[in-house]
Each structure stands twice: as structure tokens, then as C-alpha cells.
Symmetry: C2
Subunit: 353 residues, 2 copies
């Protein structure tokens, strides 16, 4: 069975998907031992961890020995299937695999990033003055460009992955989305809007040129569930097993699920700023230089704190489980890992539990 994680990064959560898949298989094996022949006993799992070539794959690879020891200890070794882990550098908006090779694609918190800033915005023929993403003052033409880019990217992504998946292969995507129907007031629009405010303050202080801010656009779009569903439907390539939107606090250290009160908005502002800085620092540095980083994110932390005092805002997160439809030109028997075809059925069993 071949499993690919798209946008794996190289942090403490990177190997989570490997753990989860191995754990699901091991549990299934343990369940059936003593009764019938365990159906996943001879399963080999090949994992591909994908990210852009600039990702720290060295760090990731050097953590694998320890990971393997811990995984074996936790699951008492014998329950785990044989598994292999490779690194795969490249954008998931390009082909990453030969035809019909992959049984399961997974991607966590990556798919809201677009393949590029829409050409009209990056050329400056259309300008989103004072903003870095869609916000309250964004003109409709800019909204349309971001939406179009999302539709093109998602549609292309579905085509690429459908070619790479075995027949009836599956895909689980988790990404930031939008709950508010009004695209100008999406929850992520507030987040990026508060960062744009901090940049505007630097413009007022004369530390950043206004043109520099106006020419900076995030390659980002947080779609609504309906927008995502529409592209999937139009593609005619996948059936939707499951689509759901849940919410996650802006502050990653705030695990209070209910209530509309932020206990310590100053600290939450700092936490949010740290988190967002880790994500966008390379983009900011590339466009504005690194001199402004410290002050920018200090101001951003204060802006976030002020916002959270008024209203506790959450990220809407879309979880999407898709199953590839049969491709008419490749009958099922031609799938590229016929020795793994049992693996595919097993993965479906595991996924359906």
C-alpha cells in the first residue's frame, strides 16, 4: 500500500500520519488474531512524505530511527506492518507520482495555499490597496481573481491526484476554510487583515513604502464548504465520502472549546503571532526584508489581542474525504501495485471504521 502525505513539513507533527496509518493497521491485525487469518498480516506500507524542496528533509530523515523505535515499542513490534518512508520534494500542484500508484493521499493544513498569486495581482494590473488578502475594502475584481485561482488550483490538484491514485483510491484533506458566507468578512480575512494593519502602521511610520505593501499578496484562499464541493462535483473525478467544517481557536494554546471569552487576550495575541510568523516569515522576509520582522509581529500580536478582546474568533477547518471514481481508460486490474490490491480494500475497510 502506498500512502503520501502532501505538505509534510519537518516538525513534531510530521510523522503523525505515519503513526496513525500504522496504528490503524496494527489495531486491525490485533483484532483478528486468534480468530481468522489476519487480513492485513502481509501488508507492506510505503510512505512518501512530500513538501517543497526547501523543506528540512535532513531533520525529518534523522528523526526516523527514533520514530521507528518508539513506534515498535508502543505497538509491541510484531503488530506493525512492514513499512518504508521516502521523502518526495516537489509542489503538489505538479505530478508527483507515476499513474495509478497511490492508495491514500493525505494533506494537513496546506491546501489553503495556492500555487501562485493570481497573475494580474502579481503584475500589478489589479491592486488590492493596503491589503494582503481579501478584506473589507477589497474590490470585487480582486475577490474574483483569488476565487478563480482557487478553482483552477483545486481542479488541477484533483486531476493530478486522480491520475496518481489507484482505482477507488482515497484522499483525506484538512485545510483552513470559510464559515461566513460574506467573502469580505471570512474568519481568515480578519487574521490577515490584522497583519495588513500592522504593515499599514509601518507604512505610516515611513519604514515600509506604500507601493511595497500594495504589491504584496498572499497566495492564499480559504474556500467555503460549498465552493470546495462545487469544484469536486464539476471535476467528476471523485465521490465525497465526507465533508465537514469544524472550528479551532486562533490561539493554539487555548483548548477551551466552548464560550466566547478569551481569558488572556494579551498572551493569546502573542501565541497567535508566533504561530503565524512561523508560517509566513519566509514570504514576508522575501518581499519586505527581515529588518521589519520583530516590530511587525509585535504590532500584529497587539492587533490580535485587541480583536480577541472584542470577539473570540476561530479558524474554520474543512475536512474532506474523497474516493476516486473509476477511470474508464484504466480498468481496475491494471492498477500499478496489483500485489497491493488487497491493501487497497483493507485501507477502505480501515477508512470506513
Amino acid at each position: 500500500m502506498v500512502v503520501a502525505d502532501l505538505g509534510c513539513s519537518s516538525g513534531p507533527n510530521t510523522l503523525r500520519v505515519v503513526s496513525e496509518v500504522l496504528g490503524a493497521i496494527a489495531d486491525r491485525r490485533e483484532e483478528t488474531v486468534g480468530g481468522q487469518q489476519p487480513p492485513v498480516l502481509d501488508l507492506h506500507v510505503q510512505f512518501f512524505l512530500n513538501d517543497l524542496p526547501g523543506n528540512d528533509f535532513n531533520l525529518l530523515f534523522q528523526s526516523l530511527e527514533l520514530f521507528k523505535k518508539l513506534a515498535a515499542k508502543e505497538k509491541k513490534g510484531e503488530a506493525l506492518p512492514q513499512y518504508y518512508i521516502a521523502g518526495l520534494p516537489g509542489s503538489f500542484y505538479t505530478r508527483l507520482f507515476p499513474d495509478r500508484c497511490v492508495h491514500l493521499f493525505h494533506s494537513s493544513y496546506c491546501f489553503m495555499w495556492r500555487s501562485k498569486v493570481p497573475a494580474e495581482l502579481s503584475r500589478g494590473t489589479v491592486v488590492n490597496e493596503g491589503n494582503i488578502y481579501i478584506w473589507e475594502t477589497t474590490p470585487p475584481s480582486v475577490v474574483q481573481l483569488h476565487r478563480k485561482q482557487f478553482r483552477e488550483d483545486f481542479s488541477q490538484f484533483l486531476k493530478l491526484r486522480h491520475n496518481e491514485l489507484v482505482s477507488r483510491g482515497q484522499m483525506v484533506l484538512t485545510f483552513l476554510g470559510r464559515k461566513n458566507k460574506d467573502v469580505l468578512r471570512g474568519e481568515l480575512s480578519y487574521m490577515w487583515g490584522l497583519l495588513a494593519q500592522a504593515l499599514q502602521s509601518l507604512v505610516q511610520q515611513g519604514r515600509v513604502e506604500k507601493e511595497k505593501l500594495d504589491s504584496f499578496n498572499l497566495p492564499f484562499y480559504a474556500p467555503s464548504v460549498d465552493e470546495a464541493r462545487e469544484v469536486i462535483k464539476q471535476s467528476e473525478l471523485f465521490d465525497i465520502n465526507h465533508i465537514q467544517l469544524f472550528e479551532s481557536n486562533w490561539d493554539p494554546h487555548d483548548d477551551m472549546d466552548d464560550g466566547d471569552v478569551v481569558l488572556d487576550s494579551i498572551q493569546s495575541g502573542v501565541n497567535v503571532a508566533q504561530c503565524i510568523r512561523a508560517v509566513v516569515e519566509p514570504l514576508i522576509t522575501h518581499h519586505f526584508g527581515e529588518e521589519i520582522l520583530g516590530d511587525l509581529f509585535d504590532m500584529f500580536a497587539r492587533n490580535v489581542a485587541k480583536h480577541l478582546q472584542k470577539v473570540k474568533t476561530r479558524y474554520p477547518v474543512i475536512v474532506l474525504s474523497l474516493k476516486a471514481r473509476h477511470a474508464p481508460k484504466y480498468p481496475a486490474k491494471d492498477s500499478c501495485h496489483s500485489v497491493f490490491s488487497r491493501g487497497q480494500q483493507r485501507m477502505e475497510d480501515i477508512a470506513s471504521n
Copy 2:
């Protein structure tokens, strides 16, 4: 088609095998265009670049974009097959792939390194006094331990790769070997003997303890063609397409094929020392500490120069092309990439030209 390079490193030659395989396929496509349907037109090639987890995969991955551009330019793009490059961290003395997945294994200048120093030597129950590898004063018990380690490693390697290869899959290995029948006077024995001499000088100067030198053993064995052939025969897993020994000058900058004279033995000594330092520096540093490195390799360069003044010595290099025998328990139709089965035949066509 799946191609794996074992011990890929991360230098300027790392992507050579990718170029060569793509070039061979592109040439075959160009040959047949205009005549019959090109047999390799729809071939996708998936490369796995393998090395130990400490290899600089980041450097390698960051060079891929440029490599792809140059490859497309050189071959005018359209002749190249679709290809994908993954990194695979791990020792090639362990399983690296699921069963019956790989069409071609390649390994260049790695397979003379053993999986470990023989246990009796590393525990110190047997000692190779004053030496770091087999040399003139090495006792027969030590020679036997090195030989046994080679046989075990090679036999294990053949079993692992045979499980991973598709039926009739192929393997091309290039590694340092031995031409001299006398194992105590192998060409590599001279090389390591001159490094041992430099370490002995440091012992005499009181900068390295004698016990430290006596407990240092290279996990290395340079077999003769007959020794390699014998292990392959005993394994009953592979047919030998081709086995050959050629010779390469110690000094990588000396491209004079004939003649027994080294033009500038001082410079050649420096060149050889640089080259060997790049290979064994991590092992030396780990055992002796980094303080001795500069002086050690200066002395080694002088020892090599003195040796080359007396006799121009060459590395014997064994090139080995193997084809996997059918595995009785997996009939050919069960190979893991049935959609690539045409690829396998094509690879055989390419390899036989």
C-alpha cells in the same frame, strides 16, 4: 519503472544515474520515432535516491530543479519520459522497499563498505595490531573475520534486493575490489596501510594512544572477482550478465591510462589524501577526535607520494551486472507494478544494448 540508486551521496555525481537512465530511454524513443510506435513512449520512471539518514538530502533536493531544467534542455524535453525523484534514507543492508517493486538497482563505489566491523574485532577479542585494515602483518584470523563479514553482507544484500526486485529485475554494482590474489597485499591494503602508517607516526609522537589505533578497524572489504562470483553463485538468486574488473588511478586527477610513471607524485599524494579524507573523515573523527585530522592527512599525503614514486598503484574496480532469477513463490504476473511490466522488458532491452 522503478530505479533505485543505493548510496547516492549528495555531490556533483549523485544525479548521474538519473541522467544515464533517462538518456538511454530518450535515445531509444528517438530511434523508433518515424518507424513503429515508440515502445517507451508512455513510460514513467520513478527514481529513489538512497543513502544513510545523515546524507545531505536537502542539498540534493535543492539541486533537482536545475537538474530537471538542464536535462530537458539537453534532450529537447519531449524525448524524456515522465520521471519522479524521491529520497530514501536507510542502510542498504536492511529492507528498503516492499516486495517486488524495483526494476533496476544501481550502486556506485559503496559496496566495499561493510554493514559493521566484525564483532570480534570491535569487541577487541581479536586484534589487528597497528593496522586499520588487512595488511602485510595482519593475522589470518583477522583476514577470516573480514572475509566472513563480506560474505554475510553480500549474501544478505542479495536476498534483500531479490525480494525487492520484480521478476527478472536487474542490478548494476560498481565497487572497489582486489586484483592481487594475495589478500595481504591487495591494492586497497596499500592505501589503508599508508594511512595506518601515518597513525603509527602519531602513536610514536605520543599524540595517539597505541590502544586507540589497535581498536580502530575499517568496516571495509575489497573482494576479488572470484570471491564476489562465489557468493552470487551460492545465493542461487541472480544470474550474472556481466562481471569485469577495471583499474582506476589512485589520483583522481591523473587520467593517464597507460604507463607506470606518476608525473608529480607530491601533488598526486595531496590529491589522494584529499579524496580519502572526504571518505573517512567522519570515521576518523568519531574514533580519534578531530584534533589529529590536519597532521594525519598531511603525513598520509607524504606516505602516498613516497609510495607512488616507487610504483604507480591503481584501484581495482569491479563492475557487476546481475539479473534476478524468477522467485518460485511469486509468479511473474504478481509483480507489484503490473502497469510497468512493459517497462521491465524495455529496461532489459536498454540494458542489453
